[in-house]
C-alpha cells in the first residue's frame, strides 16, 4: 500500500477512458469518446472543482470514477487500492506505478465495498427523487440496499440523524419529496448520499437548479459537512463563481480530455490554457457595469463532436494560437509550474 502522508491522494484516476458505442449505420457502431485518457488525483479532505463545456464529459468522468459506468480503460485507485467490478476486464497492472510495487492486481477494492465509501449527488433535485417515496424511505434506501441497519429502530434513528445533519426537520420524514422546495429536495438528496457514511462524494451540479440564496445555504452545508466529516469532493459545476468559492483546486476539461488543473486562485487569476482563458472570460459577473464592459474572448468555430474529435490537440479547431504542430500530436498534460498542469504545446508563447 502507498505511504499515507497528508497529501496522499484519496482518489487517483489513471488514464480513464469511457467510450459509448453509437449506432452510425446498419450494424455499425462508432465509439463516442466521452472521456479519453484522463488522469488526476484528489487529496483527502480536498474539494476538486471540475468545469468545462457542456458535453465535454464531466458527468461521465464523475460516474465512471464511481463505476456507475464500467470504465472502457484505465483504473481508479482509491485509498491505495484499485477498484474493480466483478465483470470488468481492464488490465489494471498496465497502470501500476513503482509506488504500488509495480502491480495492482493483488491490491484491489471490491465494487461493493467501494460503493459504501463513495456516492454521488445529482444535479436535478426535481427528478432524482422518487415522487412515490416518503422522505424517510428515500434517505433510507441506500441503508436498505447495503443492509447497514440491524433493526427498524436503528434505521429510523439513522434517518433522523441524517435529516438533522442537513437541516431538515424530523416531521418532514413522512412527507413526499414533491412537497418540498428545490433547496429542501437537494437536502434530501444529500442526506441520502450521506447515508452510507461516504468519504468521497461526486457532486454533479448540486446547486445549479437552486436559487441564489438556497444555493448559498447548500454550499455552506457542503462546507460544514466537509469540516465535520472530513469529506472529499469532486464538485462539478458550470457556475465558476460557485466553483471558485468552494474548490481548493480546479480542473478544466475539453472534449473528453483534461486541459488544465491548478490551485483555484491560481487558475482563476492566471489561466494558462487558451480554452480556460476563454472560459473564465465568459463568466457573467453580477455587476451590470462590469458585465457590460467585460471583454469576453469568444470561441470561434463549431464544437467538435466527440464522435469525430480533431487530431492532435482537441481544442485546435477553435484555438487562436493553433499551429501545425497542434494538429500533429496531442499535447501532454504536464506540470508547467509547481502544481499547475496544462495540456498545450504552446503554453509559453500563449502566455508571454
Amino acid at each position: 500500500m502507498a505511504a499515507q502522508g497528508n497529501d496522499a491522494p484519496l482518489v487517483e484516476v489513471r488514464h480513464l477512458k469511457e467510450y459509448f458505442p453509437i449506432n452510425t449505420g446498419f450494424f455499425k457502431t462508432t465509439p463516442l469518446k466521452a472521456v479519453d485518457d484522463v488522469s488526476f488525483a484528489i487529496r483527502r479532505g480536498e474539494t476538486l472543482g471540475l468545469v468545462g463545456e457542456s458535453g465535454c464529459g464531466k458527468t461521465t468522468v464523475g460516474r465512471t470514477i464511481l463505476h456507475l459506468y464500467e470504465p472502457t480503460d484505465g483504473v481508479v485507485v482509491y485509498d491505495g487500492k484499485a477498484v474493480v467490478g466483478p465483470k470488468e476486464k481492464v488490465d489494471i497492472d498496465k497502470f501500476a506505478t513503482p509506488a504500488d510495487g509495480g502491480s495492482l492486481t493483488g491490491n484491489t477494492l471490491s465494487l461493493n465495498e467501494y460503493r459504501t465509501k463513495t456516492t454521488m449527488v445529482f444535479q436535478d433535485p426535481y427528478s432524482s427523487l422518487n415522487p412515490r417515496m416518503t422522505v424517510s424511505d428515500i434517505i433510507a434506501e441506500p441503508l436498505d440496499v447495503h443492509k447497514l441497519c440491524a433493526s427498524a429502530k436503528e434505521r429510523e434513528e439513522r434517518v433522523l440523524e441524517l435529516m438533522n445533519r442537513v437541516g431538515l426537520n424530523s416531521e418532514h420524514a413522512s412527507r413526499y419529496a414533491h412537497e418540498f422546495s428545490g433547496g429542501q429536495r437537494q437536502r434530501i438528496g444529500i442526506a441520502r448520499s450521506l447515508a452510507v457514511n461516504p468519504e468521497f462524494i461526486v457532486c454533479d451540479e448540486p446547486v445549479s437548479a437552486l436559487d441564489v440564496s438556497i444555493q448559498a445555504q447548500v454550499i455552506n452545508m457542503f462546507d460544514e459537512l466537509q469540516e465535520e466529516m472530513g469529506l472529499t469532493y469532486l464538485f462539478i459545476a458550470h457556475d465558476l463563481l460557485v466553483v471558485r468559492h468552494i474548490s481548493d483546486r480546479i480542473a478544466v476539461m475539453y472534449l473528453g480530455k483534461m486541459v488544465e488543473l491548478a490551485d483555484a486562485a491560481e487558475i482563476y487569476d492566471r489561466p494558462l490554457h487558451p480554452y480556460s482563458k476563454s472560459l473564465l472570460s465568459a463568466v457573467p459577473i453580477p455587476d451590470p457595469k462590469i458585465a457590460r464592459a467585460n471583454k469576453r474572448i469568444p470561441l470561434q468555430g463549431d464544437i467538435p463532436s466527440p464522435l469525430n474529435a480533431p487530431s492532435g490537440c482537441p481544442f485546435r479547431t477553435r484555438c487562436q494560437y493553433a499551429t501545425e504542430a497542434c494538429a500533429a500530436t496531442m499535447p501532454e498534460f504536464k506540470e508547467v509550474e509547481k502544481g499547475h498542469f496544462v495540456a498545450c504545446h504552446r503554453t509559453a508563447e500563449v502566455n508571454s
Partner: protein
C-alpha cells in the same frame, strides 16, 4: 403602448389544501426589443407568471384577475383560439426543465420539425433544413447526425440548446426564457445569450428572462422584476436594482452571491423558510425572515413606493429612511429659525421612536394646523417636523421591534410628556381663539 402589458395579475391553484396564491398582483411592461429579467426565490411565482401569459397553467391553476395585453389585445379570457395563435407564433417559451419538455420516445429532429411545421408555413423538407440550421445556430455539433438521435443521447446542456432552437425557430415577437442557461457552461451560455441579443437587435424581439444567475441578469437585462411570494417586491433598471436595492429581500439576494471575496468564508444566505402561499400574512410577506423588520411590517404590507420613474419597491425601510431624512432636514430648519431645540428634538425623537399611536399623531397634526395660523416661524418649523413624520408615517410606528422594546419606556415617557404637553396646549389655544 408597450408590446406586453401585465396589470395586477393574480393566479391561483385551487388544490385540496386550499387556494395557493402563486401570483398575487404582478404588473410590468415590456417594450419591443427590450429584455426584462425576472428574479426571485424558488417558488416565488416566476414560472407561474409566464405560464399565465401563455395560458398553459396546470388544470388546477386559474388566472383570478388582472389583465395581460399583447400588442393591445387582451389575452385574459380571450379563449383558446386566440391563444393558439399567440403561442409559438407571437410568444414562445423555453421551459425550465428540458428533460420533461422533450419527448424521450421521439428523435430530436422529429420534435424540432414538429414545432416548425406547426408554427410556420414550411413544408417538411424546409422544416428539416430549418431545424438543422437552428441546431447549428445553437452550436450543436454535427446537426444532421444529431437530428436522428434521442434526447437521452444528449448531454443536459445539449438538450437545453435543442429547446432554445425550438423556441427560436419560429422567430417570435417575445421570447420567454425560463432558466434558459442553467444547464449550460459559460462559453455556450455566452454564445446563446449573444444569439438572443442578436435576434433582439435584428428582429426587435423582446425577451423575458427568468434566471437565478444574477450575472446573466446584469449582462442582459434592461429592467428587472424581483419577485417574492407571488408579487414583485421591487422593480427597476438593472443599475437601480444592483447598485441601489431598496427592498430587504433584494438586498439579501445580492448578498448571497459568491464572489472572489467570499473565498474561505461562509456565504450569507437569507435565513428562514419560504412563505406558505396558502396562508399569506397580512403584513410584508418577507417580514418573518427580514432582519430589518419593524413592527409595522408585520401589521401592514408596504405599498409600492415610487422611488424614481423606473424604480419601485414595497418596503417600509424606504419610508423610514425618508422619515429620517425629512426629520433631519426639518430639525435643521428648526434650528435655523431658532426654535427651542429641546422642543424640536422631542418632537423629532417622538416621531422617530414612534411611541405614538395613529390617533395621537393625527391629533398632533390637527393641533399643528390650528397652531399654524397663530404661531410664528418657530411653530412653522415645528410643524414641518411633524409633517415630515405625519406624512410618511401612516402608522406612527416605524421602529424595529428590538429598538421598540428598548425605547418602550422612553417612548412612554415621551408620549406621556407629549400628552401632557397637548393638554397644556389646548387651553392655550382656546385662550387665543
Amino acid at each position: 403602448m408597450a408590446l406586453l402589458e401585465v396589470r395586477d395579475l393574480h393566479t391561483s391553484f385551487f388544490t385540496d389544501a386550499g387556494e395557493v396564491k402563486a401570483v398575487n398582483g404582478v404588473s410590468f411592461d415590456l417594450d419591443r426589443g427590450k429584455v426584462l429579467g425576472i428574479v426571485g426565490e424558488s417558488g416565488s411565482g416566476k414560472s407561474v407568471t409566464v405560464y399565465s401569459i401563455m395560458q398553459i397553467l396546470a388544470p388546477a391553476g386559474k388566472i383570478v384577475s388582472g389583465s395581460i395585453k399583447f400588442d393591445g389585445q387582451e389575452l385574459v379570457g380571450a379563449g383558446e383560439r386566440v391563444m393558439r395563435d399567440i403561442r409559438g407564433n407571437k410568444i414562445s417559451i423555453i421551459f425550465q426543465d428540458p428533460m420533461t419538455s422533450l419527448n424521450p420516445t421521439y428523435t430530436i429532429g422529429h420534435q424540432l420539425m414538429e414545432a416548425i411545421l406547426l408554427h410556420t408555413d414550411r413544408n417538411k423538407e424546409q422544416a428539416w433544413d430549418r431545424a438543422v440550421e437552428m441546431l447549428k445556430l445553437v452550436n450543436v455539433n454535427e446537426p444532421e447526425k444529431r437530428m436522428k438521435q434521442y434526447p437521452h443521447e444528449f448531454s443536459g446542456g445539449m438538450r437545453q440548446r435543442v429547446m432554445i432552437a425550438m423556441a427560436l425557430a419560429c422567430e417570435p415577437d417575445i421570447l420567454i426564457a425560463d432558466e434558459p442557461t442553467t444547464a449550460l457552461d459559460v462559453t455556450i451560455q455566452a454564445q446563446i445569450l449573444e444569439l438572443m441579443q442578436q435576434l433582439q437587435r435584428d428582429l426587435g424581439m423582446a425577451i423575458i428572462m427568468i434566471t437565478h444567475d444574477l450575472g446573466v441578469v446584469a449582462q442582459m437585462c434592461d429592467e428587472i422584476v424581483v419577485m417574492y411570494a407571488g408579487s414583485y417586491c421591487e422593480r427597476g433598471t438593472a443599475d437601480e436594482i444592483f447598485y441601489d436595492p431598496r427592498h430587504e429581500y433584494t438586498k439579501g439576494l445580492l448578498r448571497s452571491i459568491p464572489t472572489t471575496g467570499t473565498v474561505g468564508q461562509k456565504l450569507q444566505p437569507i435565513t428562514g423558510t419560504p412563505i406558505d402561499l396558502l396562508n399569506l400574512p397580512k403584513g410584508c410577506p418577507f417580514a418573518p425572515r427580514c432582519d430589518a423588520a419593524m413592527k409595522i411590517c408585520i401589521r401592514q404590507a408596504a405599498e409600492n413606493m415610487e422611488l424614481s420613474s423606473t424604480h419601485k419597491a414595497s418596503c417600509w425601510i424606504n419610508v423610514e429612511r425618508n422619515a429620517r431624512d425629512l426629520g433631519a432636514s426639518a430639525m435643521r430648519k428648526a434650528q435655523k429659525v431658532g426654535m427651542d431645540l429641546d422642543d424640536a428634538a422631542d418632537i423629532a425623537k417622538a416621531l422617530e421612536v414612534g411611541g405614538l399611536g395613529a390617533s395621537v399623531l393625527s391629533a398632533e397634526v390637527h393641533a399643528a394646523r390650528v397652531e399654524e395660523e397663530l404661531q410664528d416661524a418657530r411653530q412653522q418649523a415645528a410643524m414641518e417636523v411633524r409633517e415630515a413624520g405625519a406624512d410618511v408615517l401612516p402608522d406612527g410606528d416605524i421602529v424595529g421591534d428590538g429598538a421598540l422594546m428598548q425605547s418602550r419606556e422612553k417612548g412612554n415617557r415621551i408620549s406621556g410628556k407629549r400628552n401632557s404637553a397637548m393638554r397644556n396646549k389646548k387651553p392655550r389655544k382656546g385662550g387665543k381663539r
